[in-house]
């Protein structure tokens, strides 16, 4: 709604698509939660399978932001091809990791794929932020969208890693749904408060002595 109100839906189509997917997933999870309960198998399967789809949408939202940053270079087609190849490569690597598990192979694959894609997301967002600094990107809106995405994917990746280290600690079950709320809120704030014309030097965001 915030993107539509800001009149930027066409420009940020991949973000709109992600937000829509996030909304539908949250509604679906709520429905399964109310029907079957938090500790049910239905909720478990629905949560992880929808999370895998959602992280793929998030991955393409990130590629959409790449296209925005490199729009003057006219490389969106190459970016899309590279994104699909990297996604395929991550899926293939994930299959290699889980191939030995005999039972519930698909579920293991889906859970592992989400975790790996979040980490790939961290690396790609970091590279994008580095490129933005190198190119001296000044669009405040784009800067805030990329940084909030970076906060979200790295928080997800760190949480999943902690869950692997301490699997019995139940706090990790509740953290991802809370984190998932943060990104739409941050993007909503950016679209409502920061106009498309607003400019900000990346040096002011990074270097401690710039004000």
């Amino acid at each position: 709604m915030c993107i539509l109100r800001a009149g930027s839906a066409r420009r940020y189509l991949s973000l709109v698509f992600y937000m829509l997917a996030e909304f539908l997933t949250t509604a679906g999870r709520l429905w399964v939660f109310l029907r079957s309960g938090y500790s049910s198998h239905e909720y478990f399967y629905f949560y992880y399978y929808s999370d895998a789809l959602l992280v793929i949408c998030l991955y393409f939202a990130l590629i959409g932001l790449y296209s925005q940053v490199f729009e003057e270079m006219q490389v969106s087609r190459y970016l899309r091809v590279a994104a699909v190849l990297l996604l395929g490569l991550t899926a293939w690597f994930t299959y290699g990791v889980v191939a030995d598990s005999r039972d519930r192979l698909l579920t293991h694959f889906v859970v592992e794929l989400s975790q790996n894609l979040y980490f790939v997301g961290v690396v790609l967002t970091y590279l994008l932020w580095g490129a933005m600094m190198k190119l001296r990107e000044t669009r405040t809106r784009l800067i805030q969208l990329v940084l909030s995405l970076g906060v979200c994917v790295s928080a997800f990746a760190a949480t999943y890693a902690l869950r692997n280290i301490y699997p019995s600690f139940s706090l990790w079950q509740y953290t991802p749904p809370l984190l998932a709320i943060g990104l739409p809120l941050a993007w909503g704030y950016t679209f409502l408060k920061v106009s498309e014309d607003a400019r900000l030097a990346t040096a002011r965001v990074v270097a401690p002595n710039h004000r």
């Binding site: 980490f119 961290v122 970076g150 760190a158 999943y160 890693a161 943060g182 409502l192 920061v194 002595n209």
Partner: protein, 136 residues
């Protein structure tokens, strides 16, 4: 071992992204001038705001009706302010340049809170004006 490595890398990236995100919010708010009413109400004079004023300004912000769209940014800045406070307590005063930087960042957080207060006051005035128009 791999999970620990992923955690360290992700957590480092999280800190960097979070600090940069908060600084981008603070820099954007620096470009907005405070209204005369807000200056009078808060007792802010001159261009900058002292970092110590942050908590008082946040309390004033809480008293105003919520605009509905800056709660998330305010939460991020509050976490950032607490983070700066932790660094300050952990030895930020050891070096003068770090201490100056911490004070300037805390001042920016306070200025952001003042800008948020300014927005909410303007919103409340608009709301009141609309209600008055509705009654007359």
């Amino acid at each position: 071992m791999i999970a620990a490595l992923i955690f360290v890398l992700s957590f480092t990236a999280l800190l960097q992204f979070f600090v940069s995100y908060c600084r981008s919010i603070l820099s954007a708010s620096r470009e907005r001038e405070l209204s005369r009413q807000t200056r009078e109400l808060t007792g802010i004079a001159g261009g900058g705001v002292n970092g110590e004023e942050f908590r008082r300004l946040v309390q004033l912000v809480r008293l105003c009706p919520e605009h509905g769209d800056d709660g998330q940014a305010m939460a991020a800045v509050r976490i950032y302010y607490s983070l700066l406070g932790m660094i300050r307590r952990a030895g930020g005063r050891a070096s003068k340049s770090i201490s100056n930087w911490l004070e300037s960042e805390r001042g920016s957080c306070a200025y952001f809170a003042a800008v948020s207060l300014d927005r909410r006051i303007a919103f409340s005035r608009e709301l009141m004006a609309r209600q008055m128009m509705g009654h007359s």
